[in-house]
């Protein structure tokens, strides 16, 4: 099953460092310097306490929280929420997987995909999938 290129993410000052790290294959999340909680999607202001936040490298491991395969798309693709090992749940796509074999709770790991403009985008694949 072929994949189509992903729409490019709009660039902003709040995404620049993430994209730069992604180009080196590093996956960053943001954590609050005041309450110490990590969050998603990354932002300069902590959504839990309003504190200042900073980037940190994350493991890129997590588990499937929910997913849906859009069958009317050509080719179909799988939208998902993945709960990261660090705690927050993020929207993503599951790639290189048979949608019928996916299950909530299944371990997944990050795999980068290029958007239309070449920007690396964090997708996930089953953790037992060979690299």
């Amino acid at each position: 099953m072929g994949e189509s290129l992903l729409p490019a993410p709009p660039a902003s000052p709040e995404t620049a460092k993430f994209v730069a790290a992604a180009r080196e294959g590093r996956f960053l999340i943001r954590r609050c310097t005041v309450c110490a909680k990590p969050h998603w999607y990354p932002r300069a202001i902590c959504p839990f306490c309003g504190g200042e936040t900073q980037w940190e490298e994350a493991t890129g491991r997590g588990e499937l929280y929910a997913f849906s395969t859009l069958m009317r798309a050509d080719p179909p693709y799988t939208l998902a929420y993945v709960t990261l090992a660090e705690g927050p749940t993020m929207m993503t796509n599951i790639v290189d997987a048979d949608p019928a074999a996916l299950a909530i709770g299944q371990p997944v790991r990050i795999v980068w995909r290029a958007a239309e403009d070449g920007t690396p985008v964090p997708c996930f694949t089953p953790a037992d999938q060979p690299t």
């Binding site: 993410p9 995404t15 959504p47 395969t69 705690g87 749940t89 993020m90 929207m91």
Partner: protein, 380 residues
């Protein structure tokens, strides 16, 4: 006596508008609702539309209709906007800011008119690449609800069945044929686990409402529908600490019921935004019509069918079978509740002694971020 009354309501009868402009359709809806009330454009001094109205917020449409206004508002919370507009109109009237408020909606998605937001929000960079359309975001809420509570596709299908039983009596309905649970389950999967028949229709069209202060409402000949309670809220991703099995209806419903001083058991008829079957099921739990996680059992076996079940819903056929103008279902939800409270619904679906009705809108995306608005309306 209430502070404000819905005195006019009108739904454009057509579902396809190749030869009309969006502004013209707003205007036709406005004239229809004002005629229903027994008022004219010259009586209007408050105007409400949502962010999708053509042009600059409420200004371009007000100018098109050449309104003379003391109050204007373009609160944009997706398809739930129009439910909130009724509440905001009542508040403005109560505060003395206007006497006669006009609320309009129109759109032509079947003619290629683009929906969605004009600019990406702050979440855009983190979501646009993953292609959340609409169906797949709602579908994730359905999947997670099934996972946590054992909700089934059969139970969701009952919501479509109930809507279709009602739609057969609506000559304007896009899908007027009653369907069975088996037919819903046999329809193709659009976004797993949702089937084609779990989804609402796409239609051109629109509608309008008129809200007036009591002194004016009492001088009109139409039955008066009082705004008795209202609430609104939103729900997002909570910084990534998400739970997609419930909606902002939990907050907006609690506010509305508290203001009205009644409970879900008092409601005779409910208009529940039905973009998808799962939207209805989760909303009913959040509004307190059943316990959390029990929505599947509540909607099964015809419990939402007028004359059959305990809670008649969407007796015009709803967005699932009748009409979803501009991809925004809040307006038609209010209109059918007004018909029920005036005893002007189709006789086959009219709820006997319908004195208290609830309207609920969900705008945006159930499993990511959405606005919600709840209204409790009473026949005087």
């Amino acid at each position: 006596m209430a502070d404000a009354y819905i005195v006019g309501a009108y739904e454009l009868p057509y579902r396809k508008a190749p030869d009309k402009s969006v502004a013209q359709m707003h205007g036709e809806a406005a004239l229809g609702a004002l005629a229903d009330a027994g008022l004219t454009l010259a009586d209007v001094d408050g105007y409400f539309c949502a962010g999708d109205a053509t042009g600059l917020g409420p200004v371009s449409m007000a100018d098109y209709l050449n309104l003379r206004l003391r109050h204007l508002d373009s609160t944009e919370i997706g398809g739930s906007s129009y439910v909130a507009h009724v509440a905001h109109a009542a508040e403005a009237i109560r505060a003395g800011k206007c006497d006669v408020a006009l609320i309009t909606l129109a759109g032509r998605p079947r003619q290629g008119q683009k929906g969605g937001l004009p600019f990406p929000g702050p979440e855009g960079a983190w979501e646009i690449p993953f292609r959340p359309v609409t169906a797949n975001v709602y579908a994730m809420a359905a999947q997670r609800h099934m996972h946590e509570f054992g909700t089934t596709s059969e139970q969701l299908a009952w919501i479509k069945v109930a809507a279709s039983e009602h739609a057969q009596h609506n000559p304007h309905a896009m899908l007027p044929r009653p369907v069975t649970v088996e037919e819903v389950l046999a329809s193709p999967i659009i976004a797993s686990p949702l089937h084609m028949l779990d989804c609402c229709v796409v239609s051109d069209g629109g509608g309008a409402l008129v809200v007036a202060r009591p002194e004016i409402a009492h001088g009109l000949s139409r039955p008066r529908v009082a705004v008795k309670g209202a609430g609104e809220s939103y729900k997002g991703q909570n910084g990534g600490a998400i739970d997609i099995t419930w909606s902002a209806g939990r907050m907006s419903g609690a506010t509305a019921f508290a203001e009205a001083g009644i409970t879900p058991a008092d409601i005779k008829y409910a208009s529940i935004y039905d973009s998808f079957t799962i939207t209805v099921l989760i909303t009913l739990e959040d509004l307190g019509f059943c316990a959390r996680g029990r929505g599947g059992a509540f909607v099964a076996d015809g419990n939402l069918i007028s004359g059959v079940g305990a809670l008649p819903f969407n007796t015009d056929g709803g967005g699932l079978c009748n009409n979803h103008p501009a991809n925004r279902g809040g307006m038609t939800k209010v209109i059918e509740a007004v018909r029920q409270l005036r005893s002007e619904a189709h006789p086959a679906v009219q709820v006997p002694s319908c004195d208290l009705a609830l309207v609920h809108g969900t705008g945006g995306f159930l499993a990511s971020r959405h606005g919600s608005a709840t209204l409790i309306l009473e026949r005087e």
